[in-house]
């Protein structure tokens, strides 16, 4: 492995974003990737500037802990969900709650804008919100309609829905929406709803799926599935085959420590250029695997302990190799950068 090919990751701590008084459950980049929005168990949502490490704005109004966030493609609004079974649509500049969507019976774990941009239609990506809940349903909400009922409820799930992804067409393919919804849940199944084809594809993982991450470049083909059997799988979406496995007790890494994720939702991420897979374990260790060889690339092939508690969310900057966010249950968000050379 030559030096040029050496897989790197942002390993230098640039900022530690203190502010949340409880576990940080999620952190998301906005669509210009200049700001990030975090939601925590302290019922607050905070807008940060990861470059300067400054807190830009705090959003208070959620009654219970915030579990999921998503920012509209136009960056004007964002939506949050959490324990209170309601979905909120926030106005970013004013911090007002624009709308509330109610219908779930359980807490809402994750929320997503459809993000499928239709050419020529204004705000088309932010017109539909998908929410996955503990009540094992995915509800699809129409932001533009005044109707308070969801457009549709996906009831195929047998257990709590933990993660939703809406694959966009890759920029090489012209952007826009693929017309698909990918849902992962505790029932150990990744379901792909194809609106265009009218089909639903179930891929059984056989372990509670905590997060699914679509490949940024080839969302149609590749998906990363993290499950509670301490494994992160790279799956081929087209045929359901497994491309690679990371972590897990039977992982062929020679490292002494083993990746462990058995009870918390810890969102994994693709590294820059999809050359690596990033995951956090429940002790606050950061795992970086080579996507091809599935070997840890951290020094000494040991996980690097970056947080005190479980890492709940890893978000890598989509366009820059030198920025990464990790959120943890210890109440901090850390912004990582690559070593300046």
């Amino acid at each position: 492995m030559s030096a040029a090919d050496k897989i790197t990751y942002p390993d230098q701590l640039r900022h530690t974003l203190h502010g949340h008084t409880g576990p940080v459950n999620t952190v998301r980049y906005n669509h210009t990737y200049k700001y990030c929005l975090s939601g925590g168990s302290d019922k607050t949502i905070r807008l940060w500037n990861p470059v300067t490490g400054a807190l830009v704005k705090g959003y208070e109004g959620s009654r219970m802990e915030v579990l999921g966030l998503d920012i509209a493609p136009d960056n004007a609004t964002f939506t949050s969900c959490g324990q209170e079974k309601d979905l909120y649509l926030w106005d970013v500049p004013t911090g007002h709650i624009l709308r509330k969507f109610s219908g779930h019976y359980g807490r809402i774990n994750t929320v997503r804008f459809s993000g499928s941009v239709q050419p020529g239609v204004r705000n088309s990506g932010s017109s539909v919100i998908l929410s996955g809940s503990f009540d094992s349903k995915v509800m699809i909400w129409d932001v533009r309609s005044q109707n308070r009922a969801p457009i549709q409820t996906l009831q195929e799930g047998r257990d709590s829905v933990t993660s939703i992804e809406v694959p966009p067409l890759s920029s090489a393919e012209g952007g826009g929406g693929l017309g698909q919804v990918v849902v992962g849940g505790v029932d150990g199944t990744v379901r792909t709803y194809d609106v265009r084809m009218g089909k639903m594809v179930e891929d059984v993982i056989a372990a509670p799926v905590t997060s699914i991450v679509l490949s940024p470049t080839t969302p149609r083909e590749t998906i990363l599935v993290a499950s509670l059997d301490s494994k992160v799988r790279l799956m081929d979406r087209s045929n359901g085959q497994m491309l690679n496995t990371f972590g897990g007790p039977d992982n062929p890494t020679p490292s002494r420590a083993t990746f462990e994720n058995t009870s918390y939702r810890s969102k994994v991420a693709f590294g820059y250029g999809e050359r690596s897979v990033l995951a956090g374990d429940e002790k606050g260790g950061l795992w970086v695997w080579d996507i091809v060889s599935a070997k840890t690339v951290t020094p000494d092939q040991e996980p690097r302990k970056v947080h005190e508690k479980v890492i709940t969310w890893i978000e890598h900057h989509p366009t820059r190799a030198d920025e990464m966010l990790t959120a943890s249950a210890d109440g901090t968000i850390k912004v990582w950068e690559s070593k300046k050379e």
Binding site: P119, R148, A149, V195, G198, G240, M242
Partner: protein
């Protein structure tokens, strides 16, 4: 002169005003009017003076500004002006208009008038004579007859409204109120009145005045009645048969208010030794002269045949008299027509009547009067001693209940309740024959078992008799138990749930004590297990004993142990009784709770005495055991097993049909993949609604991470209240693609919106009326084609493209990616070919062509394409479609419009031909399209055929 005036004026100004001048030399001057009441018009010449009313409106106007009050009270210049609001000509009916004073009054006057009015009772409704406060009435009563008679002469006769009403109903002054009576009844009534008057010592003054009135009236009946006298009863009886008489007037009962604080019956001024004579002439007597009159009347009222009544008699007759005392308004059950005066009491219930009777104690009927009426009886004890003055012996003697001695019980009688029960049962059976529900009450309830009762009630009989717990025991243990029972621990093993009332044991003859047993227990024990199987003789004795204790005691005396010793016999009998209580079956409900055990008692784990200390080794063992069980429970489906084995791919993948909502398709910008509704072939997997039924293949046995609610309906029902109507309501016809359960969840956000679950649904499924209707109404022929629904969409889309695209659109033949926001006219496909599947993106003919350069060759191509499009859509719905157009439901309604499409096609073809000539005229129409993109008018892309 002028200078003097001027000087005076100046002086006045100095002083303020001349009103301040005081000419008072003596006393205090009145307060000056200077500041408050200054006349504003003081220095104003007359022609300039203005008169204003209290509201400040000008009152008098000049001749040219309206005259007096400027119209009708300053209405000049107002909205009403001079015009009467409603002018009615009085020419035809000139004299009919009567003018009242109010017509000429203004608001203030009317208000004054209103204020001066006072609401009062009219004379008619003012309460007349006889109605008033107690003091007035008392005064009237005290005044006597003469004053009232005089006042009746002097005062103008005014009758109250009640009086008028009575007179309208046939009542005449002086008569009593009520139905007419026969002569005999009348006599009885008179006697009663007279008697009471005698007792009371007061003749009602009304009666007195009545006499006069009657005489004045000269009423024939009354004349006869009064004039003939009471002594001529026999002669009158003959006539009395013929005539009926109005009842006598009776005195209104009034009561004295007690106004002093002395005790009841206390007479002021009298000592303790107040004698009876003193009492009679006491100061509290209200009308000393009345007794004579009344007694005279009352005596006169007596006939010879009524001599059994002694008015002044004492003792029992007084008792009876007071018993009989009643007012004219009440009537008792024991009153026959002869007896009572039937008045208001006709419709009263007994309780009311009794109450009334209590309330209607005559006014002067206080104890001393009572005592006086009953002679000396109330004032002397039985032995003749006088009662303490001021007290009266209560005449209403409380009589003791009559006691009867117990009958002599014959010698050797033994209570045998079974006989009584037997009769009871017979009665019970008779009741059953009558099909009446037997309601057992209290202790009289016949002692029946549940089976018997069920039989009596005609219930379905149980197939097997109710079991005793001894049925579950082995015969050996039963025997053993039976051996043990005669011992002493009967109370400990008693399983009797209810306390039975046991008759007392009676000593039988020969000294044999047969312990009583409730027949229920006995009969139940007979049906149950019968112990003593080893000793048939004993068993027989046992059964005979039980039979003797049952209802039908055909053998009342049980067989006894053939021994001499009484105590042995008695012991056996008592053992029998205990055994019967032991072995009688439990009630059915109780017995159901027991089942035969698979394990014998020895197999059961015996609890160890003492404190339990868990063995640490065994705890781990136990944990392992439970863990093992959990793992065993985790049933893996084949797919999961494959996934566990890492064989991802075909093994783990299942593809099924899924029906997205039409609106979802629209929002995702794709065509509805199931425009004809969900595929019916696979109902299991097709819709979201069906997916709530867990299929076996999908049921996963994963250990739930977060105590999964899943699709547990019960869990959801904690949150949702679904009415059955909602759940049964499906709208498959309206929205075929949508699972019916879709909109069921009621959440808090919807609360308060409306009760309608389907609120807003009609907007989604709103079906636009056919364009034919619009055309028939609005359209002229030349704009026919353009107003077509689908074409409208085409134009909208095309127009939008025009707006958004750069002018370069005109010549770009090659297809471009969708992302480019330029749309170029695709080369029109040959008309005979259907649109190929790879033409996934819509092809638009930009209206720039139409607007700018419209070559003649273009138009037919466009029309051909459109035609093809329509035909294709009619054939296969997966082709390019613009159906989503304005409303979401259009795509769903496509199927319903199938049959109309042919007709439409013909019509359109016709129109297309017309359109060719009229095409240039459509320019204006295209140009006025709004520049703002309506978000609902989105174009929709056809699904790719295969991917």
């Amino acid at each position: 002169m002028t200078s003097r005036l001027k000087k005076k004026l100046d002086h006045m100004e100095e002083q303020g005003t001349n009103l301040n001048e005081s000419f008072c030399l003596i006393g205090t001057p009145l307060p000056s009017l200077a500041d408050t009441k200054r006349d504003k018009n003081e220095f104003v010449p007359v022609w300039k003076q203005e008169v204003r009313d209290e509201q400040g409106r000008r009152r008098f106007h000049g001749a040219f500004t309206g005259g007096f009050s400027a119209g009708y009270f300053n209405t000049v210049g107002s909205k009403e002006g001079w015009t009467p609001s409603t002018f009615v000509s009085s020419r035809g009916q000139r004299a009919s208009k009567t003018q009242a004073v109010e017509d000429f009054m203004d608001d203030e006057d009317l208000a004054d008038l209103k204020d001066s009015r006072k609401l009062e009772n009219t004379e008619t409704f003012r309460s007349g004579e006889g109605f008033g406060t107690a003091a007035e009435l008392g005064g009237q009563a005290g005044e006597g007859s003469l004053t009232s008679a005089l006042s009746s002469l002097i005062q103008p006769s005014t009758s109250s409204i009640g009086q008028k009403l009575l007179m309208k109903m046939g009542w005449k002054p002086g008569q009593g109120v009520g139905p007419r009576l026969t002569a005999r009844q009348l006599r009885l009534q008179e006697r009663k009145i007279g008697r009471r008057a005698a007792h009371v010592g007061v003749l009602p003054s009304q009666t007195q005045s009545r006499v006069g009135v009657d005489d004045l009236d000269g009423d024939e009946e009354m004349d006869m009645d009064m004039g003939m006298g009471m002594g001529m009863g026999d002669a009158r009886d003959k006539d009395g048969k013929k005539h009926t008489f109005a009842p006598r007037d009776t005195k209104l009962l009034l009561f004295d208010n007690k106004q002093d604080r002395s005790g009841l019956g206390y007479i002021r001024g009298g000592g303790m030794n107040l004698s009876q004579s003193q009492t009679q002439t006491g100061p509290s007597r209200t009308a000393p002269s009345e007794p004579q009159i009344s007694s005279g009347f009352g005596l006169g009222g007596h006939d010879a045949d009524e001599d059994d009544l002694d008015i002044y008699s004492s003792g029992p007759s007084a008792l009876r008299d007071l018993d009989n005392r009643r007012t004219a308004y009440d009537r008792d059950e024991d009153d026959d027509m002869d007896h009572g005066v039937v008045l208001l009491g006709e419709g009263m219930v007994g309780a009311d009547r009794n109450k009334k009777r209590q309330a209607n104690v005559p006014r002067n009927e206080d104890p001393r009067n009572k005592a006086r009426a009953s002679g000396s009886a109330g004032y002397t004890w039985h032995d003749g001693r006088p009662v303490i003055p001021g007290f009266v012996v209560d005449i209403n003697v409380i009589s003791n209940d009559k006691w009867f001695p117990f009958p002599d019980i014959p010698e050797g009688w033994r209570p045998r309740p079974a006989r009584v029960w037997q009769t009871n049962r017979r009665w019970d059976q008779a009741a059953v024959k009558k099909e009446e529900p037997v309601i057992p009450t209290g202790r009289n309830r016949p002692q029946m078992t549940a089976d018997e009762r069920g039989k009596a009630l005609g219930e379905e009989q149980l197939k097997e008799p109710s079991k005793s717990i001894f049925d579950y025991m082995s015969a050996k243990s039963k025997e053993r138990l039976a051996q043990v029972i005669p011992g002493d621990r009967q109370a400990g093993v008693s399983m009797e749930p209810e306390q039975e009332v046991k008759p007392e044991p009676a000593a039988a003859r020969d000294g044999v004590i047969v312990p009583p047993l409730s027949p229920r227990t006995a009969s139940a024990a007979l049906k149950g297990f019968i112990p003593f199987g080893d000793d048939p003789a004993k068993q027989e004795r046992y059964t005979s004993y039980l039979r003797s204790q049952t209802h039908d005691s055909s053998e009342p005396n049980p067989k006894l142990l053939p021994v001499k010793q009484l105590d042995q016999i008695n012991k056996e009998l008592s053992d029998f009784a205990k055994s019967a209580q032991m072995f009688r079956p439990l009630s059915f409900a109780m017995a159901n709770r027991f089942t035969s055990s698979k394990l014998s008692a020895q197999d059961m784990v015996q609890p160890k005495p003492g404190l339990h200390i868990p063995d640490p080794n065994k705890v781990d063992e136990w944990k392992d055991k439970t863990r093992l069980e959990e793992e065993i429970k985790e049933v893996l489906t084949p797919r999961e097993e494959a996934a566990r084995a890492g064989m991802f791919g075909k093994m783990t993948r299942v593809t099924s049909d899924w029906v997205p909502h039409a609106l979802l398709c629209k929002r995702f910008g794709v065509a509805n993949p199931w425009p004809d509704g969900p595929p019916g072939s696979k109902p299991k997997e097709s819709g979201a609604a069906e997916a709530s039924v867990p299929s076996a293949g999908r049921a996963l046995g994963t250990k739930p991470l977060l105590s999964a609610p899943g699709q547990d309906v019960a869990w959801q029902n904690n949150f949702v209240h679904q009415t059955p109507a909602e759940s049964s309501q499906t709208e498959e016809t309206a929205v075929p693609g949508e699972p019916p359960k879709e909109r069921q969840p009621r959440n808090i956000g919807e609360v308060g919106l409306a009760e309608d679950v389907n609120q807003g649904r009609d907007t989604l499924t709103y079906k636009k009326p056919e364009m034919d209707i619009f055309k028939a109404i609005f359209a002229s022929d030349d704009e026919g084609d353009d107003s077509d629904d689908e074409d409208q969409d085409d134009n909208d889309a095309a127009d939008r493209m025009v707006i958004e695209s750069k002018p370069a659109i005109s010549a770009a033949p090659a297809p471009k990616p969708i992302a480019d926001r330029e749309y170029s006219p695709a080369p029109p496909p040959p008309s005979n070919l259907p649109i190929a599947g790879d033409i996934a993106r819509p092809v638009f003919a930009p209206s720039a062509h139409r607007l700018t350069s419209k070559p003649e060759s273009d138009v037919p191509k466009l029309s051909i394409k459109k035609k093809d499009k329509k035909r294709d859509r009619a054939k296969a719905k997966t082709m390019l479609s613009f159906d989503m157009g304005d409303d979401e439901g259009d795509a769903d309604d496509q199927g319903g419009r199938e049959e109309e499409s042919a007709r439409e096609r013909d019509r359109k073809r016709r129109r297309k031909e017309e359109k060719r000539e009229e095409k240039p005229r459509e320019k204006n129409k295209v140009e006025v399209k709004p520049a703002v993109i309506d978000e609902d008018d989105e174009w929709v892309e056809a699904p790719p055929v295969a991917r």
